[in-house]
Subunit: 137 residues, 2 copies
DNA sequence: TTTCAACCCGCAACTTGGTTGCAAACATAA
DNA sequence: TTATGTTTGCAACCAAGTTGCGGGTTGAAA
């Protein structure tokens, strides 16, 4: 189990230290993107700055990507696309204004946008806000 | 000139006080969305919390809408659609990772998304990040 | 016109997510 | 073993956003 995670990290060019494995495992085990604070509380053994530095490493090596939830808070999820993680591969997310959860809408694909001349896209954040199926009464 | 702004506020159900007119005028006079801090520095006479409270009022009455820029900072722009400000009317925005400016991409329309059953959309945030035409070398 | 309640505003203090400096702990190669 | 670089935890810090409070303004009823 940990072997997969070590391979994942090494493939991304990151030395698999204890903290990095813990954070990566937590992200892999979650079906929704997690914020810095959510990770910090799930992994009581790790300190905020440690989680932050692991996330920075993973981001810099393209092993995860960050999305903004509905309130300006960053959430992180494993990048499954590997090297081919171009803007057109991003999917939409849904933020529930009642329960504050963030969902991955894997079915709602985001088309590569048509940009005016001179603009270059690096990433896309497509966030839909509203009420989720659990909170709808 | 101020008459238009007062009409705009009253039409939204907001009493047109001095601060509200100042903030609304600043938003109307800008071609790009502005953040709380940007408004605060442009309007030296107003204090941060005053700008914040005006923005909260305008938001609650649907006179403006908020978007997240690329770093989790909210930016605000006048809602031109009036009452018909449904998700399908939102346009995309572009955040330049070099100069930190946010552009309105009025031409890139955002289609009303297909959501799973039970989900209700209230708003959409479609932010493209990259390098703008001024920063491209 | 006076009075009173409601609203508006500025100040200061606070919360929270994100970030960094530093020194101790650890790994690694010579 | 020693020397060098990396990783980590702690504490401190920063910036955006938010709130309590007291003073000021407004506007309508008496």
């Amino acid at each position: 189990m940990n072997k997969e995670i070590e391979d994942f990290l090494e493939h991304a060019g990151i030395k698999p230290t204890a903290n990095r494995i813990i954070v990566t495992k937590a992200l892999m085990g979650s079906d929704a993107p997690l914020s810095l604070t959510e990770l910090e509380t799930r992994l009581q053994t790790l300190e905020k700055s440690s989680v932050f530095r692991v996330l920075s490493q993973l981001l810099a090596h393209g092993a995860i990507h960050a999305i903004e939830d509905g309130r300006g808070i960053a959430k992180y999820e494993i990048c499954h696309a590997g090297d081919a993680c171009t803007p057109s591969h991003f999917h939409a997310h849904f933020y529930c204004e009642r329960c504050q959860r963030t969902f991955c809408l894997d079915d709602v694909k985001v088309a590569e946008p048509e940009l005016p001349a001179g603009f270059t896209a690096h990433s896309v954040n497509y966030m839909i806000k509203g009420i989720c199926h659990d909170c709808e009464q």
